[in-house]
């Protein structure tokens, strides 16, 4: 197969890869974006149809593009996100090579990288990893201990209530996805037991404004990775219990409980067909309430202190009702006896780096990086939780992150020019 030569290979044509493509085009840096499927592949093929963005449409901002519709306060569905990104790719004329799966990236001796794909090879001086933080569903070990009569579904494969076998559902995990699926299934008339570990409670609206308006304006989303007390922990905080919906409904634990969802503690293990849950539910709920209160305190303090007339433009401060849970929640669930036919693993995703043959992974398989500058010259990471700032976790973070990393990348290209390229010329090898 041929080996093509370019300055930068971007892996992944999601919002991050495309934003970086735009930044490199702005700097006239030669590059290609390799995408295993079509643009925004995971939004098309690996998310359930009912999924909507947590963030309001006005916040779907991209360099030279983003949401342009007439519903700034709405929330895009997965298919609409895919459509928006496909449009964006055309808009910025991104050099995307679709249906191209990267199989290996390794460092060449001369400071360049060799990229192997199922569609041939590339040689590049810089590689941007934008392949997504949420590639492989992460299941606890006890998944293997579930009886074979139970249908196990990950949130990557879940497609809606009607696609599940009849019967009750145990949803494991109460971050955004778990809370949303518990809500969707309970509304579809299913019996739902929700196993709740550490979680983040947020109100959809506060003082008459979307919570993301508050986080955006008050500077919460601009808090940098090197300002956070414990960045490892902060990068692993679960996504908030929110859903994007026309009626702006809540999917926090109180709302789910009202729908009849039974709340239990974190899943400890499964023994002889019996799921065992932690007895610490009350504390995880209390912690989430306290954290939510602290965030609202921060919003209020900002509103009171800022020069913009915010306090006058929003409703008066108020506090959330403490979340009530059963003081002695169920510790054991005999799945078969209780009519549970499906377990949904909403226990998070991990990125996939099995193609990355550069020694930059730590003992836990995470890329070692400082704000996206990976621990290998010319290698960059984009589109990861709290990569450079809290905003990085959302689509909205790509604009600033890609701007800063493109600057770093351009400096890298300049400081290590490809001398051999001058001699050999930029021709195909």
């Amino acid at each position: 197969m041929t080996v093509q030569r370019t300055d930068v290979v971007i892996i992944g044509a999601g919002h991050s890869g495309l934003a970086m493509s735009r930044r490199l085009t702005e700097r006239s840096i030669d590059h290609v974006v390799l995408e295993r499927g079509a643009v925004a592949h995971s939004w098309r093929a690996e998310r359930w149809p009912g999924l909507r963005l947590l963030t309001p449409n006005w916040q779907t901002r991209l360099p030279g593009g983003g949401y342009q519709g007439d519903d700034p306060d709405g929330h895009l569905a997965a298919a609409e996100v895919a459509e928006l990104l496909a449009h964006y790719a055309r808009q910025i004329d991104a050099p995307v090579q679709q249906q191209t799966t990267v199989e290996q990236v390794r460092a060449d001796g001369d400071g360049a990288y060799s990229i192997q794909s199922d569609q041939g090879g590339w040689n590049a001086r810089s590689v941007v990893i934008a392949s997504g933080a949420n590639s492989v569903p992460h299941l606890p070990d006890c998944a293997a201990a579930l009886p074979s009569t139970i249908t196990q579904v990950t949130t990557r494969d879940y497609r809606g209530p009607t696609t599940l076998p009849e019967g009750g559902v145990l949803v494991v995990g109460a971050a955004a996805t778990g809370a949303q699926l518990a809500d969707e299934l309970a509304r579809a008339g299913r019996r739902v037991v929700l196993s709740v570990g550490e979680h983040v409670r947020l109100p959809r609206d506060y003082r008459g404004r979307d919570v993301f308006w508050w986080m955006d304006r008050s500077g919460v989303l601009d808090e940098r990775f090197d300002e956070v007390d414990d960045i490892v922990r902060a990068r692993h905080v679960p996504s908030p219990q929110l859903v994007g919906s026309a009626e702006r409904r809540a999917v926090d634990l109180a709302a789910l409980r009202e729908l009849g969802v039974e709340l239990v503690g974190r899943l400890g293990t499964v023994r002889d067909g019996v799921a065992l849950f932690s007895g610490g539910l009350a504390n995880t709920v209390r912690l989430a309430d306290l954290k939510a209160e602290r965030l609202l305190d921060r919003f209020d303090a900002w509103a009171a202190a800022t020069e913009a007339p915010v306090d006058a433009a929003v409703d008066a401060p108020h506090r959330l009702e403490p979340t009530q849970v059963d003081p002695s929640p169920r510790l054991m669930l005999d799945l078969q006896k209780q009519g549970i036919t499906t377990v949904i693993w909403a226990t998070g995703f991990r990125p996939r780096y099995d193609w990355l043959d550069v020694p930059v992974l730590d003992a836990k398989g995470r890329v070692r990086h400082e704000g996206g500058v990976v621990d290998a010259p010319g290698l960059y990471l984009l589109g990861a939780s709290l990569l450079r700032r809290r905003r990085s976790t959302y689509i909205d973070g790509a604009a600033q992150d890609s701007l800063e990393l493109a600057e770093h990348l351009a400096a890298h290209l300049q400081s290590s020019p490809r001398e051999s390229a001058l001699a050999a010329g930029p021709a195909l090898v």
Binding site: D226, R266, G279, G280, N283, A363, E370, V373, D375, P377
Partner: protein, 242 residues
């Protein structure tokens, strides 16, 4: 605290309460592992350095002293992340039957930081049952020792979290109660479990902090408590005969 450039500004003190010199301390582990440097070609932003100064000021000038060496613990956290094998501890108690329901447990050595460790001295706990169980009541019932362990663990957590958050404690007391239907252990009702049905801990804390901050202290101490976890989550336990 996770910022490695903080350490030259104020090196943490070097002991966790006079460990015997042959022992490896948490801070030796930190030094051995070394903290990784991942400095990008561009210098760190200026406000990162500012963070360090703030940290230093709060730890050197703040009068908060709960007798907890936060710097050492946070340093150990960073170091052990880099060398997770050293974080593998094995705790140990040996036990000997005395007579009747009375037994003595000795706690002396444990494994951790990649080496055999030893307490300053051997500690002896005893277990027995009260007279209402037709026993001689030489010592607490083991279930009471479990409650005491929970209180000890949570209280240590309160102190550590308070130190880290700059909260001065004046007094921390707690009452721990465990509801127990003894028909289980007596074999009197197969539907009753042997262990506690419910455990309640009530803290009374006097500190320089708001009610909310104190609630957060207690919540965080549960989140990081080994005994709370051991009681609330299933654990595989293997009992064998040597």
């Amino acid at each position: 605290m996770t910022n490695s450039s903080c350490s030259p500004v104020k090196p943490p003190s070097v002991t966790l309460r006079n460990p015997p010199s042959r022992n490896v301390t948490m801070l030796d582990a930190r030094a051995r592992a070394g903290l990784p440097s991942l400095q990008p070609p561009h210098a760190r932003p200026a406000h990162a350095a500012h963070d360090c100064r703030e940290t230093t000021m709060s730890t050197t000038t703040a009068p908060v002293d709960n007798g907890v060496n936060s710097d050492a613990l946070l340093g150990a956290r960073d170091a052990l992340r880099e060398s997770p094998a050293a974080a593998q501890f094995t705790w140990r108690a040996t036990s000997e039957w005395v007579r009747g329901t009375h037994s003595k447990q000795t706690i002396d050595r444990f494994i951790g930081l990649g080496a055999e460790q030893q307490h300053k001295k051997a500690f002896v706990l005893e277990g027995d049952h009260p007279e209402v169980f037709a026993s001689e009541d030489h010592a607490p019932t083991p279930v009471e020792t479990v409650l005491a362990a929970l209180a000890g663990c949570l209280t240590a957590g309160v102190a550590a979290v308070a130190q880290n958050r700059g909260i001065q404690l004046r007094s921390v007391t707690a009452v721990v109660e465990g509801d127990h239907d003894i028909l289980g252990i007596l074999g009197g009702d197969p539907e009753v479990r042997n262990g506690f049905n419910d455990v309640r801990v009530t803290f009374d804390i006097d500190a320089d902090a708001s009610k909310e901050d104190i609630a957060a202290l207690v919540a965080q101490s549960q989140k990081r408590s080994a005994v709370f976890d051991a009681l609330t989550n299933p654990t595989n336990v293997t009992v064998s005969v040597a």
